[in-house]
């Protein structure tokens, strides 16, 4: 083989690193698809509990997975994918909530009446339940941010206090004390509402 032939042969040859990269990319895509199938619903519920709007919550979920796609190289380093994803979507929804203007309470009532389970309930009962839940959510909105966040996350049965602490970046004891304060504040606010009625 002449020198020029050898050079061309080496030039045309596909290097092993390229094959490895392609294989790795395919594996990462497959892993991401599995994550979507497994956790999209949970992330939607987290997003909805803060944003209380289905379209916004779905957008937040998509944005979270797009962020994961951008940083898929680090997927292998993540220990608990569920908590990691919840943390990503949590930051996204908090950011969106901060930017969004406050919506009137009537929007919440209508939205709740639409999404709440209404099996075996009359229209009036559904409307009354929606109003009640809207009042409770208004009280939740009046809580200080730290207490509110812990209260919202504690409602998710999938999340332990350790995982909540991991999502919020605080200690487990802080989670418990904040939750205690949040519940006391909520009790006071709800009592005040009842006395006004």
């Amino acid at each position: 083989m002449s020198t020029s032939q050898a050079i061309y042969a080496g030039w045309m040859e596909i290097p092993n690193s390229a094959v490895n990269d392609e294989t790795r990319l395919r594996a990462e895509d497959a892993a991401l698809a599995v994550l979507v199938d497994q956790y999209a619903g949970a992330l939607y519920r987290v997003a909805y509990s803060v944003l209380r709007n289905p379209a916004d919550a779905e957008d937040a979920v998509q944005e979270a997975f797009l962020r994961v796609l951008r940083h898929r190289d680090s997927l292998g380093e993540v220990r608990d994918h569920r908590v990691w994803l919840i943390r990503i979507v949590w930051n996204i929804v908090l950011d969106r909530k901060r930017r969004a203007k406050s919506r009137p309470e009537t929007d919440d009532v209508d939205e709740l009446a639409r999404v709440l389970p209404s099996t075996g309930l009359s229209a009036e009962e559904v409307a009354a339940a929606a109003q009640h839940h809207a009042r409770v959510l208004a009280c939740v909105d009046r809580l200080p941010p730290k207490e509110r966040q812990v209260l919202i996350l504690s409602a998710f049965e999938e999340l332990t206090s350790v995982e909540i602490a991991s999502v919020l970046g605080i200690t487990e004891s802080s989670v418990r004390s904040r939750l205690f304060r949040a519940r006391n504040l909520m009790a006071g606010l709800l009592d005040h509402q009842r006395s006004l009625r």
Binding site: L32, A33, V36, D37, A40, G41, Y44, R45, V46, Y48, S49, R52, P54, E58, V61, Q62, F65, L66, L69, V115, L116, H132, H133, V136, L137, C139, V140, L151, I152, S154, A155, F156, E157, E158, L159, T160, S161, R176, L179, F180, R183, N184, M186, A187, L190, D191
Partner: protein, 173 residues
């Protein structure tokens, strides 16, 4: 009721606390099902990642990714820096003598008394003295005006000390 097997303490206090209604609502919200087809929509969004929105696209020849823009930017920066340096260089005058005013040295008074910190002011330099115009006598007409030297007596031109001594010598005689 213990609905959370992983987190018994949180669940217990939630159900028995005074804000049970609040927890119930939050739990209801947290357990809402995700809309149908959410996963498919997310898969679709991931397959087609959003492109950065651009109103105007670069022509292919002027594609900024080709590197010409970087070169042009570097050349522009070099031009600005060199031009600025040259402008400063041409404006600055080199070897310019310093404008220093020499102040008189503060010397102590020779008589033993101190000047008590008083600033000695230099004597004013004798400058050119303008010649004083001689007053012409308005009573005399111009025609009769004679030169001052000839009109005055000889004694008046002499030094006052000299004239005084001559006067004294006259008296002695």
């Amino acid at each position: 009721m213990n609905s959370n097997p992983h987190n018994p303490k949180i669940s217990d206090s939630a159900s028995h606390g005074p804000s049970g209604a609040g927890d119930e609502t939050m739990r209801l919200i947290a357990s809402l099902p995700a809309p149908a087809g959410l996963e498919d929509r997310v898969h679709t969004a991931l397959r087609v990642p959003p492109r950065p929105a651009r109103v105007l696209a670069w022509p292919k020849r002027l594609n900024p990714q080709s590197g010409w823009m970087r070169t042009a930017a570097a050349a522009a920066i070099v031009f600005v820096v060199v031009g600025g340096g040259w402008g400063v260089y041409t404006r600055v005058q080199h070897n310019q003598p310093a404008k220093i005013i020499a102040m008189p040295a503060r010397m102590p008074a020779p008589g033993g008394f101190s000047s008590a910190g008083a600033m000695r002011t230099p004597q004013t330099l004798p400058g050119p003295v303008a010649p004083q115009p001689t007053k012409a006598n308005p009573a005399q007409p111009r025609k009769n005006k004679k030169p001052v030297a000839s009109a005055k007596p000889a004694n008046s031109l002499a030094h006052p000390a000299v004239s005084k001594s001559t006067a004294q010598s006259g008296q002695d005689k």
